[in-house]
Symmetry: C2
Subunit: 477 residues, 2 copies
């Protein structure tokens, strides 16, 4: 549906590149007539489907999927004081059904704690019901007043995966926070996106949580994108919503809870981190088309080459690959451009000479050519996709390493945050964070860092000199 | 999460049975604090997932999945006059974001024509873009003032699959209507639910359509449930939303459209039609648990039997079955009850004697026992599930046949509609339909019937005596 065009802005101009990329690779259409709402093109949605299938697969190991209503009555929504404060300016309200004014206003869920926990309080009776671990994948809504941006800052988050768990003790819930962090790490590893977890400062935690661990990806312009959060809710919500259980001794006890979420920002991250000046670059596991077959046709070979290309397509399809034979009447170059833009990991070229030699030519999205014997085509292609995946992962890993720098002075930090993330010694107090944030025009994302890219070495706060831990400091989306 | 209990109301009292069934088999929780909104239990959602996977599989053959926003601005929503008339009393309106009143009110989609077609008018340029066939699976909203009922009459339809197609000619769109009917028949065949298609009367068609074909299932109480609709939209919407294409001769022409939908009523139908006095009865393809293994343990055999049951569970899982080993410390009878309530198609019992004899005992949901050799367990179980599926389908088919009767008089019709569907000669005019509907307290669902269960024989209208076609007449949900 998007039109072909010859120039994509350089990825150096990230914001421009990102916007162009989204419609040229047919991910999102931004022309929907309401600010902050966007339309998924089929190609984009297919990428979303494969990506969320991974998330489902990982969660299904020990969670169950469920579905709660979108509309939350005002009285339930208003029960948890901290929670309201966090969301009151962002909630969309339904006030009318037809021409009738509703007795009770209904909130479009900005997140589902207040829809789910009243039901949990009916469901959980005894310690035998715990732990309870459910998730849902739903649309949620925020009346964003800031600048909106497709997949990143939305008024309708179309693809919010939220998990909500209930446990017998604070420590069990803490253990679940750690499990969720591992699960999210595994998810992002599958889509080759490096992330860094850290503990958000008190003033930046989820409204109603004891503490929040958040995952950040680093975008090409050096700004961080929060791509997942895990909250320890303590017994804050369970007290509000009367979520109790009977323990082994017959005593009623308040339950402890966690919740954790990932939105379509995961798609924004994977597009932004892997893409290049030719378009999308997609990990094979989530690519809507994994292999594009381009027949190289000369005057006398058309029939034979096309027949062979069709056979190959059938064989690859049967083996479970997502494959497209591009038999359009276009120059091969135009086809290469088309599939490169859409991020297809592997292109296969078949021409008359290849038929003679019993080989096909594979070209991965980095442009690397490898001939594969026609008779070993399945293992050959599997192998090429696997090598490509590893190369993509290595590239992303090298890139993030180049964007993170430990600094020991303000001056160094200032330079680093222009292009990436500064690891700064920070004591943990609000006053010092304010000084850092104001002077560098950044956010102090958090400490207690969980990352293979960053060594956890304690030191002294660069502001007050008190004993401190390393903290992530960056401009953020 | 639902508690066990010893009695389920008889299916003779269908309405009571249905309500009890939903929570006892853990399909829906009706205790959510807003009328007409319900919560999917994980077990219900798993059934929904398998069922919608079939729908996706069928659509993916020649449609693409996509996703459009939930919120529709008032000005777009109000463009198509007939459409507004049909929905104006049913639409939920968002009027506020936070404490701010919105400039333009936003409708929660009751269906997505007015969200999708403005975008289609940007996407379709030439005949080469046609046909365009997309679908989405989304939540939609209706401010129902009638009695609401889980899965059947909802304020949030959580699982609306809507397809929207664009074609070059009226006839192409008509062909698509026929294709959609076949697709829906295949879908309902897969879940063993017999349906009857008919053409809805003019006054009952979709607001803005040229005509509407609808699928009805017959519920145990003899009332029909509309479980799918296919609409020929002509060029009504395309004129409103300026959806044109350039034909081969370079001329601008209005496009023609269809749309067709299925909601979670498909789950209501499958639960209601297959279930019995012991609980759910599920077709193997959609059953959340296909096989429940119940070890029959005696004093001296516990260890050996459990080991063997675990091995069997592992083997069946590896083969792709959804299987649960029920090793709880409960009497076997309590376990049978538990799994029967949840509709598990096949139970496998393993006891010490079975181990000696090298067999396992399979018991299908109809209570039929068949021993299967342990060494041939995979093919044996596959076979049993297939036989069960066929028996279930046959049973549903026999049941619907018993509920449909061609009648030639008012008196006959009156008797038939107490328990099922009357096939009545009707000329097609509103006046005669009104007389039939008022006197029998029924709906005239439609004529031009597509059903293997009903012969299409023309005759004379039972009211006015004019030449007529057979029509479906029934009480309906």
């Amino acid at each position: 549906m998007a039109e072909e065009s010859t120039t994509l802005p350089s990825k150096e101009n990230f914001s421009e590149w990102y916007n162009e990329m989204l419609w040229r690779a047919e991910i999102m259409d931004v022309r929907y007539p309401v600010k902050g709402l966007y339309v998924w093109y089929p190609h984009g949605f297919s990428l979303r489907r494969s990506t969320y299938n991974i998330l489902r697969e990982l969660l299904d190991r020990d969670h169950e999927e469920t579905l709660f209503p979108l509309l939350i009555p005002e009285n339930e929504f208003m029960k948890e004081a901290e929670h309201i404060k966090g969301f009151e300016e962002e909630v969309y309200w339904v006030t009318h059904g037809g021409t009738t004014e509703l007795d009770v206003k209904l909130a479009l869920r900005p997140t589902s704690e207040t829809a789910i926990y009243p039901m949990y309080s009916l469901w959980v009776r005894s310690h035998a019901d715990l732990p309870l671990k459910l998730y849902q994948i739903v649309n949620t809504f925020r009346y964003e007043t800031k600048h909106t941006r497709p997949l990143i800052r939305l008024r309708e988050i179309t693809s919010f995966k939220e998990a909500h768990t209930v446990h017998a003790t604070w420590d069990d819930a803490k253990k679940q926070v750690e499990d969720a962090i591992l699960l999210y790490k595994e998810f992002y590893d599958r889509i080759c996106v490096p992330i860094i977890f850290s503990k958000r400062p008190e003033w930046d935690k989820f409204p109603g949580a004891d503490y929040t661990m958040a995952a950040d990806a680093i975008m090409p312009d050096g700004r961080t994108l929060q791509v997942g959060t895990v909250h320890h809710l303590g017994d804050n919500f369970s007290k509000t919503f009367d979520l109790k259980y009977e323990d082994e001794n017959g005593e009623q006890k308040p339950a402890f809870q966690t919740c954790y979420g990932i939105s379509e920002r995961c798609i924004a991250a994977l597009i932004s981190i892997h893409g290049d000046n030719k378009g999308l670059v997609l990990p094979p596991e989530v690519a809507p088309v994994q292999i594009a077959i381009v027949p190289i046709i000369t005057k006398n070979s058309a029939e034979e080459v096309l027949k062979s290309a069709k056979e190959l397509e059938g064989e690859l399809k049967s083996a479970g690959f997502r494959v497209k034979l591009d038999a359009r009447e276009l120059r091969p170059g135009a086809k290469y451009y088309h599939w490169e833009m859409r991020g297809v990991p592997l292109r296969v070229e078949i021409g008359p000479r290849d038929l003679e030699n019993g080989v096909i030519m594979t070209v991965n999205r980095f442009g690397e050519k490898t001939p594969v014997k026609r008779e070993d085509v399945l293992s050959g292609i599997n192998n090429q996709l696997e090598l490509f995946r590893n190369a993509l992962k290595q590239k992303a890993s090298d890139t993030i390493k180049g964007k993170i720098h430990s600094v020991s002075s303000f001056e160094e930090a200032k330079e680093v945050v222009e292009k990436g993330v500064a690891v700064v010694q920070w004591c943990g107090c609000k006053e010092c964070a304010d000084i850092i944030e104001e002077n560098l025009d950044v956010s102090v994302l958090g400490n207690e860092i969980r990352s293979e890219y960053i060594k956890e070495e304690n030191g002294n706060c660069i502001i007050c000199g008190k004993p401190s831990k390393p903290a992530l400091v960056a401009r953020s989306y």
